[in-house]
Symmetry: C2
C-alpha cells in the first residue's frame, strides 16, 4: 500500500491571503490545490501564481468543471495546472474533452452519483475520484462514518485512486487505516493551526505511521 | 403565458473580449450572464464590471456552485450579482446556504438528476432551473428533441421557472411553442452573428411573435 499524498486546499476569498498561508506549508505538502472559491474570486492568476511559486509541485485547479471541459481544461493547463477537477454530474464527453488538455482529471463526488457512472468514468480513462464530505453537510452536522469508508473502499476496489476531503484532522486519519487512500486533502486543519508548518508535518508523520514510507 | 426573457451568456477566455461583445447587445437583452469559463478566468472582476456597466439589468453569476454555497454566493452578491447558479449535484444544504446570500438560485441540470431531487429543490424554496444541452454533448452530435421538451414541460408543471440553453438559434425557438419557458439563454448565436444587436433583436422579435408581449 503506497503512502498517501498530502494535499493542501487553498480556498480563500482573495489570492494574497492564500499566498500568505501557502508560503508556510507549500514545501511540506505533495499537492497544492487552487480551491474553487479562490479561483472564482481570483481567476487564472491563482493557478499562475501557485505555479510560479512552486514549479515542482503537483498543482490542481479545483474548477469542479461541469461543461465546456476542453476550454476550461486548456485554460487551466495554460495557467500551469497539472490536474483539474470535474463535477460528477458532468457528461462523459465533457470529462473526455477535459482529459485531453490536462495531465489528469479528478471526479468530484457530490450528491447522488452511482457506481454505474463511476464505471463509465473508468471506461473513459478517468481513474481519480475525490470523495468529499460537503462543507455545508459538515456544517449541518454530518460527519465521516462507516458508510463513507465503505464507499471509499469500493471505489478503490474498482480501480480508482481516491482522494478524501472534508473536515479531516490528524486524529481522523486513522479512520482510514487499511484503505489504500491516494491523497488526503486538508485545508483549515493545517492553515488555521497555531503552527501551520507543524500541522502539515504532523499530517505527514501520521500518514507515514499508518501507511509506511 | 408570460413573455420569456432573453439572456446573453458571456463566456470567453478574457474579460476584455466579453466586454467588447456585451457592449453591442447588453441593452437589448433582459438578463446578463457572467459565464463559468469567464469567471474562472477573470474572477470577481467579471461580475463587478458587468454590474458597473449595466446597473439596472439582472446579472447572473454562472458559478455552477457545488459546495460552500454560502461563501460563493456572498462573494457573488458582493460583486453585484442578482442570481447565481448551483449544479444539480450540490446538496440541499449547499443550495440553501447559497439562497440566503443572493436573490435567487438557479439549478443547472446536468447528467442524471431526478424529478425526486427536483421536488427537493422546490421544497427548499428554489424554483428556478436551467435545462442545459451540454456544449460537449452538442459537439458530440446531440441536439434538442422531444425528450428534452417533455422534460422542460414537466419541470414547468412542477412549478419551476425554467431557462433553456445550449445551441439555441432564432429558428429553434419555435420548438418551444406552447411551453411556458422562463428564459432563453443564447451566446454565440448572438455574439458571433454578423450584426449582434440585430441578432438579439431578432431573438426578442421571435419570442414576442410566439409568446406575445
Amino acid at each position: 500500500m503506497a503512502k498517501p499524498n498530502l494535499q493542501i486546499a487553498c480556498d480563500y476569498n482573495d489570492l494574497p491571503s492564500a499566498l500568505a498561508d501557502l508560503k508556510n506549508v507549500g514545501d511540506a505538502v505533495d499537492i497544492i490545490e487552487a480551491g474553487t472559491i479562490l479561483i472564482l474570486q481570483g481567476g487564472q492568476d491563482v493557478v499562475k501564481s501557485f505555479r510560479a511559486l512552486y514549479p515542482d509541485k503537483i498543482i490542481v485547479a479545483d474548477t469542479k468543471c461541469a461543461d465546456a471541459g476542453g476550454t476550461v481544461a486548456k485554460n487551466c493547463a495554460d495557467a500551469g495546472a497539472d490536474w483539474m477537477t470535474c463535477i460528477c454530474s458532468a457528461t462523459i464527453p465533457t470529462m473526455e474533452a477535459a482529459a485531453k488538455e490536462v495531465s489528469e482529471i479528478q471526479v468530484e463526488l457530490y450528491g447522488d452519483w452511482t457506481y454505474e457512472q463511476a464505471q463509465q468514468w473508468l471506461d473513459a480513462g478517468i481513474s481519480q475520484a475525490i470523495y468529499h464530505q460537503s462543507r455545508d453537510a459538515l456544517l449541518a452536522g454530518e460527519t465521516w462514518g462507516q458508510k463513507d469508508l465503505e464507499k471509499v473502499k469500493k471505489l478503490v476496489d474498482m480501480g480508482f485512486r481516491v482522494s478524501v476531503t472534508g473536515g479531516l484532522s490528524v486524529d481522523t486519519l486513522k479512520l482510514f487505516e487499511g484503505i489504500d487512500v491516494f491523497t488526503f486533502i486538508a485545508g483549515r486543519a493545517i492553515t488555521q493551526a497555531p503552527d501551520p508548518l507543524q500541522a502539515a508535518n504532523d499530517f505527514q508523520a501520521e500518514i507515514k505511521r499508518i501507511w509506511g514510507e
